[in-house]
Subunit: 385 residues, 4 copies
Amino acid sequence: MAENGAKRIRLGMVGGGTGAFIGYVHRVASRLDGDYELVAGALSSRPEVARESGRNLGLADDRIYTSYEEMARAEAARPDGIQAVSIVTPNHMHFGPAKAFLEAGIHVICDKPITSTIEDARKLAEIKSKNGARFLLTHNYTGYPLIRQARELVESGALGNIRVIQAEYPQDWLTEAVEQSGNAPGAEWRTDPARSGAGGAIGDIGTHAYNLLRFVTGLKTEAVSADLTSFVPGRKLDDNVHIMLRFEGGARGMLWASQVAVGNENGLQLRVYGDKGGIEWRQDNPNYMWFTEFGKPKQLLTRGGSITGAPASTMNVRIPSGHPEGYLEAFATLYTQFAAIIRGDGAAYEGLLPTLQDGVEGMEFINASVKSSQDDGKWTRLSDV
Amino acid sequence: MAENGAKRIRLGMVGGGTGAFIGYVHRVASRLDGDYELVAGALSSRPEVARESGRNLGLADDRIYTSYEEMARAEAARPDGIQAVSIVTPNHMHFGPAKAFLEAGIHVICDKPITSTIEDARKLAEIKSKNGARFLLTHNYTGYPLIRQARELVESGALGNIRVIQAEYPQDWLTEAVEQSGNAPGAEWRTDPARSGAGGAIGDIGTHAYNLLRFVTGLKTEAVSADLTSFVPGRKLDDNVHIMLRFEGGARGMLWASQVAVGNENGLQLRVYGDKGGIEWRQDNPNYMWFTEFGKPKQLLTRGGSITGAPASTMNVRIPSGHPEGYLEAFATLYTQFAAIIRGDGAAYEGLLPTLQDGVEGMEFINASVKSSQDDGKWTRLSDV
Amino acid sequence: MAENGAKRIRLGMVGGGTGAFIGYVHRVASRLDGDYELVAGALSSRPEVARESGRNLGLADDRIYTSYEEMARAEAARPDGIQAVSIVTPNHMHFGPAKAFLEAGIHVICDKPITSTIEDARKLAEIKSKNGARFLLTHNYTGYPLIRQARELVESGALGNIRVIQAEYPQDWLTEAVEQSGNAPGAEWRTDPARSGAGGAIGDIGTHAYNLLRFVTGLKTEAVSADLTSFVPGRKLDDNVHIMLRFEGGARGMLWASQVAVGNENGLQLRVYGDKGGIEWRQDNPNYMWFTEFGKPKQLLTRGGSITGAPASTMNVRIPSGHPEGYLEAFATLYTQFAAIIRGDGAAYEGLLPTLQDGVEGMEFINASVKSSQDDGKWTRLSDV
Amino acid sequence: MAENGAKRIRLGMVGGGTGAFIGYVHRVASRLDGDYELVAGALSSRPEVARESGRNLGLADDRIYTSYEEMARAEAARPDGIQAVSIVTPNHMHFGPAKAFLEAGIHVICDKPITSTIEDARKLAEIKSKNGARFLLTHNYTGYPLIRQARELVESGALGNIRVIQAEYPQDWLTEAVEQSGNAPGAEWRTDPARSGAGGAIGDIGTHAYNLLRFVTGLKTEAVSADLTSFVPGRKLDDNVHIMLRFEGGARGMLWASQVAVGNENGLQLRVYGDKGGIEWRQDNPNYMWFTEFGKPKQLLTRGGSITGAPASTMNVRIPSGHPEGYLEAFATLYTQFAAIIRGDGAAYEGLLPTLQDGVEGMEFINASVKSSQDDGKWTRLSDV
């Protein structure tokens, strides 16, 4: 991959103070390819945490903020102000900063799901950003090289007409009521409707699986029939998600997401079958993907390995096949390709990076599923929520 | 495993003439452990085929029949007549012979699904067999040692309360319209409602997956919500099956069966998760099973390998772990343990072998799923069909 | 596979009384395809064991022998005498019966290694059998369909010139000194030089790995450099085997066999690399084989699956790919194809079944390796022992 | 992992101009955790390449050098001079810069193998560095969390006394004579004795496998018996390496490294067996490791997953188990922990990072193996070269 140390983008961050997992991930992703330099942050609303976190990260004192509004204003005014900002707060705190920075003409990188309500998502999508500020939603799994290759295989017709899509994302970390212990802050807000929104597992991981199948197949979803369950006593949001899907053109799908599937760490898996071929990919060993042409032996494609004609899949490969890349590299790819778009040399990545529109679709998926489940599994159109 | 060459059971067969796959499988299963000797057959309704097939198999000419009625009558009358019969005809031809032999006091081994209609299944279940003749339904996957062990793990409480069950059985052999070529007799009747019954993939392989999850978990199904599709133009029955399930006690499940999932040969898979542990098993590598106790590393159990207290799982292991057993061995286990029951020394196997009642349940599952799919996925109780 | 119930071959057995593992395996192998009927046996030298074992297996009392000499004489004289005999005694007891039956004109099926000394092996190879009696050495792993396919791929040139061969057979059942407990009869004789011969692990499993690489590649071995170790205190024979090999034409190899590799049940593995392609196969999941053409993605071949032009690999497939076959099926294939040769319709199998000559080569391999190890790893030619 | 943005170490680089693979990897490794800032470089001896590469990376013009001697002198003299330097030139160009920077009091991070000759390695080890400058040899595979855990398992006695070690590193990228095309600069110098040293595959990848087994087991090697081969016509150095090893205390091992094993990308694998347990790990799926206690089921350990008491294995885990980390993360761990040592807060990492002494041992391994192979496999002591 190209290195652009000479043209680093000045980055800020909202949320992500010491101890916050996803903020840390965003910072690593911004550093890995050397395209960003973190120079400002509203890392916490608690002043001491904000200050200490900022200093640890090497921020200058005058660029450590405790409010995103102040940060947006101040940075927009500086000649050396940030060019982009990463928003890594809990879901219900995405909308405010995203709006503020877009309106200030600062590019926004936002964790998923885009907001905690569909109304916020739609409002956000209508904001007129200043100076062409762009928006990146970090559906990070789309950054895996073989997921890019999967998309290209579908587009190229190698799978024929898509018939069946099986997506799943089982975990087991919420098998017990850890959110009620008070010791698991990540678990706490993720199971709290006020901060997470209407969906639990479906918002946290179901949207990832859904976004992934949309990214790879390009198929529009017509309707869903869902059965959402909360197995752990006292849990307010779903921790297991069963959904059947119908796509435009007739394809059918299933999506399973679970936080109580004992023995699964992050078992995101996508399988797509057409009338000519099939692909199968798992996130826990992401450098390999099965590709079968009907009537021929299964082929094990490797990241950056031997298959022709897949430019988008190789343009984010850093090291030779056989040397594994992982979650952070895929995350970094979104950052790096967004940097290219910001710099104006990222035409090749247009259309590949998740946008506001993907965010709205993700919320429609969550809301339609929740509604279907409340209606005893009634097939529910995504356009009806 | 014990060998009982001295007490071989005299076996007959209905269907299974030269070229028939499942008849061949039943014969191998009957031979493998040496508990049966094939001595009579109505292998085909076409006299020449019946005769040639019978002679190839070493049957005496006077025990080669062309009608099962005649065979039941004649064999019941002989002092050396058959003690058991295998029925390996297409689904719609199970009921007649099963009734005839049970009423003649001859034990019946019958391929699945039990019949082509639920009415037939229920009638069969009510037949008073003569002389205590028994019935074995060959849901052969229940014969795998690790499936027996899975059942024991659930029964022992090692998984805690079951929450989530994911069953699937993808194949790809009907990706194209082979049944319309006239060259694929197995494909032809399996896609013909007159011979198969109301279900295609759901009857052929969906019932296997369903029977397996019932066998392992013991949970009663409350209701299903189904979406059955026929993807191949001109195909009269479903070739892809998506089902959500609700079980008594609150567990939820998904079942996927497909004959158009390119790259899958016989990908039967069962995953069961409780509040204490989880298990995962695949038929295409059946000598291994994952078992995870929550909070501990995954363990790879092996057929006959190192784990304590699982008698039923080891009583059908033939060779040391690390030397793979497969489909034929699991099938043979049903035959062999049924032979023990026939001989009167099979008390240990009572309750383990699939019965008429399992056959009826399988038909209820098929019919409820077909009905739910016709009703746009409405949750349908198995007791309502 | 064809069934030949009408032309069953009358079989006898030497060794294999109740409780003997390998005798049981040979009997299952003889039954599975229905080509043999066991009618006589010298199952034990202890009269009561011989009698009880024979009766359990359904042998007539007058065909239960306590000496193989007597059995050879009596059976050769009967009009309905055995046509073939299986020899399943410990290694040092192979030579006597093999000689007796060959000279009596009875076909011999003999477990490996062929004898306990190379002198015996060579003497056996020189015996003039009566009436064209044939000899089968049960190197059973050569019966796996994908091993046949591997051999065909090599022969066809798909791998190009072979360069590197990596064979291994790790187990862990002798990690502790079970043979000294008196409770493990199989372990006892296998670690006793008087009954096993000069090699421990090398004779028990090393020869299997060696035979397999010879079968697949056809390459003659020039010389070996070996390091044999006995790790368990008090053990008289090697339990870990490290060997480097040089083949005619310049290929190089490594062979590792171990009975103390904790975590391995029967991890027989073969990997062969040429200048055009490579193959990789493991016995513990034998229905799959990797095949890579240089510069292309790895392909996962399946038993009986989608690849063209491999007749020998499909002629021993019983059930569709995706339904696993295992150890017993591969073993049965040797029996069944040997039956075809006996019946005179087995021309297709000539050259595929392990012979006396393979037995001699196996002993040369054992002896050369033991000698090399005693000479501190000196490269030792197989022709020099 | 901690982030230390506030205390970044000023880094220089020798070698690694545009297009050089390993230089790129070192830069990513230095950036990933945010502990270094690249500020100077002698990236190429060709002035234009040096300048353009430096500018691309954002170096100031006055810190772009074309000679490492000049760079060492100039940087040592600057108040803001580099604190550490990465040496990423071909092997024969390691010694000069390493010596120069150590003597200038600048910490050295050097790619492996340490030098191209053992004499240079030993001379380097005797250099008195100024101001306590430290040396890191980037045997990057030791940075994988599960390799750290493997080492701890061995140290803790969980495997008991080590008996057998199987290490391998197969690749296939040199299956054909790419180095003779002039288009593959990486292949070119790696197959040239003048630049690589006496070993080909053994120096490039064999040393990695060797270092890994030494790191994990801690066992000293007594002697090796080697068979090195060059299969590709015209190739000057070995492309396939077969070695048997004897360790102090009686353990035995095998090491296979190959650049012509078709179908292998970077198949580094380590298996270690003791009298109580065994471990098995592969680099191409590095987030998993098998651990078996004798007589119990195999356990699949995961990076950062559920097993107690393994501090060193978790102190370099960045993200939750189930989210894969890879090659770059493992490489970065060496950089990051070396940074901690430089800063003075890295006591926990002392003894874990590869040193000059490991470099000397690696050269002894190469030289003893080459010598043994020239002496027809004679067991050769590492202390004798």
